[in-house]
């Protein structure tokens, strides 16, 4: 029993001390994994037991079994995927459009230092403004629907992306620019061959932040418009006092947001695999 376990823990070892090193590190990895799982299990079990024993009000806080049953029921009817699909497409479109528009705007103000100085105070104002406060404005102009919610997702990401990317463009090592200019590079070549590629790590960092931000924009947008989506399920569940629905939607949002962030992280690893930092 012990022998195979030891062998497995020390697989790939080059020597006695390497085996010892591997065994200790792999045991610690296991410890971390087990502790993580334990927290989750304790939380869910504690929640369930507290609800059943009446330590917390099951009407307010629901319980894991109720959430699960509701999940199965709504999945069977297919309506859940309708809501998930809408929210996910709004969010994905929102952060892609927001990041793209922000990068384009940053490029524009990089190309024109005059424009950059003119727009500077406006960007600062727009950046300080809580973007969700623009919701009602979007609804009046675009109409209560997909468009408004998408606009929220974009609005919340575009300005911060502009500022971050412009800063990144400005931060490129001047020696690289001197070298390129000495080789006769024009401004377009300077941007497309040196400045933009050098700023890709910052672009991906912006993308990671924007994933989280666009969820905020989209959920708040759905609160306001209230027809479809997970944000709608949350606000609806709250209005009819179906807290099980609220909890379930929250959990789904948490899982989806994590998955999206993880996807961007994987993309980051792929794109930046040759870079030093």
């Amino acid at each position: 029993m012990i022998k195979p376990l030891t062998r497995w823990l020390t697989r790939g070892a080059q020597s006695e001390i390497h085996a010892d090193y591997l065994r200790r590190h792999r045991l610690r990895d296991w410890g971390v994994g087990i502790a993580r799982a334990a927290i989750l299990i304790l939380f869910v079990a504690g929640w369930e037991v507290s609800a059943r024993q009446g330590w917390i009000d099951p009407f307010l806080f629901s319980s894991p079994t109720r959430v699960w049953e509701l999940f199965l029921e709504m999945t069977a009817k297919g309506e859940l995927f309708h809501h998930i699909g809408i929210t996910v497409s709004e969010t994905v479109l929102g952060f892609i459009l927001g990041t793209a528009a922000g990068t384009a705007l940053a490029t524009l103000i990089w190309a024109s230092p005059f424009l950059s100085r003119v727009l500077d105070p406006y960007l600062v104002i727009l950046n300080s403004l809580p973007k969700v406060a623009l919701g009602p404005l979007f609804i009046v102009t675009i109409g209560a629907g997909f468009g408004s919610i998408l606009a929220m997702g974009v609005a919340i990401t575009v300005i911060i992306t502009t500022l971050v990317m412009y800063n990144s463009f400005q931060g490129v090592d001047p020696d690289y620019l001197r070298l390129a200019r000495a080789f006769g590079a024009n401004r377009f070549q300077l941007f497309s061959r040196i400045i933009f590629p050098a700023s890709i790590p910052d672009l991906i960092a912006a993308l990671k932040v924007n994933v989280g931000l666009s969820w905020v924009g989209v959920i708040v947008g759905e609160f306001l418009v209230s027809k479809n989506g997970l944000g709608y399920l949350i606000i609806y569940g709250f209005q009819v006092f179906n807290l099980t629905l609220v909890m379930m939607s929250l959990l789904i949002v948490a899982v989806l947001a994590t998955l999206m962030y993880d996807m961007v992280s994987r993309m980051e690893k792929r794109l930046l695999r040759h870079r030093n930092t």
Partner: protein, 260 residues
Amino acid sequence: MDTYAIEADSVTKVYLNRQDEVHALKPISFRIHPGEFVSLVGPSGCGKSTVLSLMAGLIRPSSGCLRIFGKEVTAPSNRVSYMLQQDCLLDWRTVEDNITLGLEFRGRKNRQTSHDARQLLELLGLRHTLKLFPSQLSGGMRQRVALVRTLAVEPDLLLLDEPFSAVDYQTKLHLEKLLTDGLKIREMTALLVTHDLEEALSLSDRILVMGGQPGEIRRTLEVPEELRSADPLTARGMPSFRPLFNELWKEMESHDKTVD
């Protein structure tokens, strides 16, 4: 052959900014013949890099006239190549695509020139790095790749701003040798900025000693023929090397005192 590779006539440079103006260069004048290897030495801040930037066409003189191969410098010239202390390799490109960067910017990248650049890389013993990324190379290898990129545009004039001051001694000697060999074959003119007096003495035909702030040329030293023709490592061991080194050293020290 009456045109000079470089002709500087009372060239000055004043950097302007909102707070004040920085006088970087007093009027300086010098001439360099085609095929000559000239070094600029002097304490930091005396305007050596400014002189190179002026010749690379990155900045304009505040007054005076600067000509390269008889033509006044108004923009970066296709006959010039410029190399810095930092290798400035693009991390996201393979070595193969880094060495052709200059050709690309000059619109001269084609099958033939790319092939020539690869041959140069091979000559410098880096054939195996063609498909590698800069992050996979050592510091010395990176600087060699940068040297290939500099030479790939087949310049007539080479501007070098402390190119070997960030690599270890052994690599430095190796690179110096490669450089002098390459220059002899192609009959290039070179202007090297360095704070390493040994390097200046073992590589150049002539040394311009700069000093002061704003900077000026305080002395010109002709390097004797026997040191010029020897390769950089041999030259360092020759009997006439030390006295000249000491002379240069004293010259620099006296400049330090005038700054105080």
